[in-house]
């Protein structure tokens, strides 16, 4: 993928298809350590050991429209081609954790891209699922937790235009703060 945020979107959609109620997405960046790690954890239906082996095989897919599923294999490749790591753990009935770690000063590093848009779209398109988004850099971190938003909103749906706008502004403002203001 041209941006890692697209990989996040893809894996998070797998969580949605696995009937997750809560999806936690963590993006941890450190310029000092030349590192980036992205994890996506869900409480969906999970996978058996056998399915887990199949999911990193590009010739496996649960979809019936084609015989190839490249979401996870390409995410894995994006991490490994920078000298980073990739792991995926799953338990039936408990959920799945997918984690990719990158060496960010490698020539083959794919840019993170517009992760805020990814989060905004995920929340807007899946208003019945809860998302926790944690983004950290050397300067600090912030958290967006839709369970907290729901408490304040008292029944107003997360895909309401005013709410979406608030989420977008919150993400933008917080991102500016953890990037030290200089990059935006």
């Amino acid at each position: 993928m041209r941006e890692l945020s697209l990989n996040v979107m893809d894996v998070a959609q797998n969580s949605v298809r696995a009937n997750a109620q809560l999806v936690t997405i963590k993006v941890e960046e450190s310029e000092k350590n030349h590192s980036l790690s992205i994890s996506i954890q869900d409480d969906g239906c999970g996978m058996t050991e056998e399915q887990l082996q199949q999911v990193i095989d590009p010739f496996f897919t649960t979809r019936t429209t084609r015989k190839v599923g490249l979401g996870v294999p390409l995410f894995k490749m994006s991490a490994e081609q920078t000298g980073g790591d990739f792991e995926i753990k799953s338990e039936v009935g408990k959920g799945t954790l997918t984690k990719a770690s990158y060496v960010t000063d490698h020539m083959d590093m794919t840019p993170l891209g517009d992760i805020n848009s990814t989060m905004s779209i995920l929340i807007r398109c899946n208003p019945d699922i809860d998302f926790v988004f944690i983004h950290s850099t050397d300067n600090g971190s912030f958290t967006l937790d839709t369970r907290e938003l729901r408490e304040v909103l008292q029944g107003v749906s997360l895909d309401t235009p005013d709410v979406v706008e608030w989420i977008n502004e919150f993400l933008e403002e917080q991102t500016r703060l953890i990037y030290g203001g200089a990059n935006n």
């Binding site: 041209r2 590009p58 010739f59 190839v68 490249l70 390409l74």
Partner: protein
């Protein structure tokens, strides 16, 4: 022109053999697999330096006639096995993608 004739005319090395009688009608160059996946035309020769297992999946999905690993780019063992299993033809050359494409354009 079919794959067999393409191999002979450009003096390519055959790494895995699929359907060598298959026609080559087009050509596509690209290394970003997710990009190539939706864009490489069917029945084309796909020129790339990516010789991993995901490339084989992309070749299957895009239904290209063959993969050409240019500049002697290496082919992983896993990828070779999958290519044999799925009848994907993989060719190899020391020339770069541009030169191969130029020669190919005179033949199709």
């Amino acid at each position: 022109m079919n794959v067999k004739e393409f191999v002979q005319k450009l003096n390519l090395k055959v790494l895995t053999e699929g359907d060598m009688e298959r026609e080559i009608k087009d050509c596509y160059i690209g290394d970003l697999l997710s990009w190539v996946m939706g864009r490489a035309p069917e029945d084309s020769a796909w020129l790339t330096v990516m010789g991993n297992i995901n490339s084989i999946a992309v070749a299957t999905l895009a239904d290209v006639s063959c993969i050409v690993l240019t500049e002697n780019a290496s082919l992983d063992d896993d990828a070779r096995k999958k290519a044999e299993m799925h009848d994907v033809t993989i060719l190899s050359t020391e020339e770069n993608s541009y030169n191969v494409a130029v020669k190919l354009s005179n033949l199709i």
